[in-house]
Symmetry: C2
Subunit: 276 residues, 2 copies
């Protein structure tokens, strides 16, 4: 018998994955959590029946959301990751030799637990001595802390369910207060095809709060429409210009790709360049 | 009742589209031809149950496959389009004011007939006085003609069915003979995720046959994996450097995007840069 998992990406568009094995399923305090092995793209973490990450293409999302902001900073030491309980963003942040502290704020402890068991190549760095885990709401964590970070990475799931507050203006105002001088933030801002209003709103908020900002693109096959956006805000450097080059191997990110990824097709430019 | 059309994109991955209306269906001499109206992306042309083009995102494919090579040429006058019976590539070629002759070679006359009726915004330019239609096999047409063109656009469907020959080395050798000085060719070369061997082969063939060549990328949501590649060969100019700027409105292509689209992520670079 063939088992297929169907992901509804819009009212009129669905993706179907052949499931080789159902590895784990539970109802957490926040969401439905599932780990499956897909015939295409391998093991995958699902939240509320939406694919969050797969071992086959996770490198694209995690390299882009981490290296884009970190290479804009001259020497990032302290990194805050909000969301991202799978550990992929933490893993990439730790590859920067200047980084000596990574705080991960994940609301759902069960996501981290499942990733540790089923997605060790993504979650493996969570045991690094430089990492501190905080199981709490990202919005509350940022509002209550008095610490600062060189880079904040908002690795939120879709803007429905527990992550909805992480796309709000109020949240980004709080994050802005927690940045050290030369600080930089990066947030995923959805598909320019399926989440146009979200992208417009996030790009507008970040442009208002930071002296320099920009949106870049990556192609992520397991995400709706394939095209995904990341929005970067910076207190000093131009987000489209990396100041340093990786001294480690990457599969999607490169300094040249960093620069090119901020060149937007005209149909997206008008979304992300609000008239002031 | 909801009617869904399922497109199998690989053995373990399918896309499902909600169909608002079935507009046309026939078995031609070459393939199954269907026109539907999809809830997402609008009217669509299908060949052998694979989406070829939709009114919602066709501009991405057609702008990239035409403007990328044409803006590398200093003043293209004669353009040959092989495949592309929907007329989208012809429409974009005619927007260049220097172009005074476009030859379209489509093996299946019924594709053109259906596009004229059901996709007039794509096929409308086929009645332009500068256009000549040739209903024959592209491989044979190129082998038998003694004419030359400034740009040849290989707008083939998938490398299965009638289009298989249009990806071969023999075909590209014939095309090379039909180029005027400073001539340029562009062919679609598939998804870097789902058609890796095809991309490697096409990029290698074009690199061998032309003094300058390169592969660029675009994100096309209705194509498998979203990420799509185009390979350009040129007798003179660097394919990644446009020599002119559009004096007409575009939605996806721009001169800046042209340059950026040739920056490939590392995982693709090793496919398209064969060691010689």
């Amino acid at each position: 018998m063939s088992i297929w998992f169907t992901e509804r990406q819009s009212d009129g568009y669905e993706v179907r994955w052949l499931v080789k094995r159902l590895l784990h399923q539970e109802r957490t305090a926040y969401q439905q959590l599932t780990v499956v092995e897909l015939a295409e793209f391998g093991r995958a973490l699902l939240l509320d029946d939406i694919v969050q990450t797969t071992v086959g293409d996770e490198y694209i999302y995690h390299e882009m959301i981490v290296h884009t902001p970190l290479f804009v900073h001259p020497a990032p030491r302290r990194v805050l990751v909000i969301g991202g309980g799978d550990g992929g963003a933490v893993r990439e942040a730790l590859r920067h030799p200047t980084v000596d502290a990574v705080d991960l704020v994940e609301i759902d402890e069960r996501v981290v637990a499942a990733a540790r068991v089923w997605l060790p190549e993504i979650a493996g760095s969570l045991d690094d001595r430089r990492v501190r885990l905080h199981y709490t709401d990202g919005f509350r964590f940022v509002a209550e802390t008095d610490q600062t970070w060189d880079a904040v990475i908002v690795d939120a799931s879709d803007p429905i369910g527990p992550a909805v507050g992480l796309f709000s203006r109020e949240f980004h105002q709080q994050v802005r207060q927690r940045l050290a001088p030369e600080g930089v933030i990066c947030t995923q801002s959805g598909s320019p095809f399926f989440n146009r209003e979200l992208l417009r709103q996030v790009a507008g908020t970040v442009a208002e709060l930071y002296p320099q900002s920009g949106t870049c693109l990556a192609c992520i096959p397991t995400y709706p429409s394939g095209l995904w956006s990341f929005t970067v805000g910076s207190l000093r450097g131009d987000p489209s210009q990396p100041r340093r080059r990786p001294d480690f191997t990457t599969r999607y990110y490169s300094s040249d790709y960093h620069r090119s990824s901020f060149t937007l097709p005209p149909f997206i430019t008008h979304l992300t360049s609000p008239t002031r």
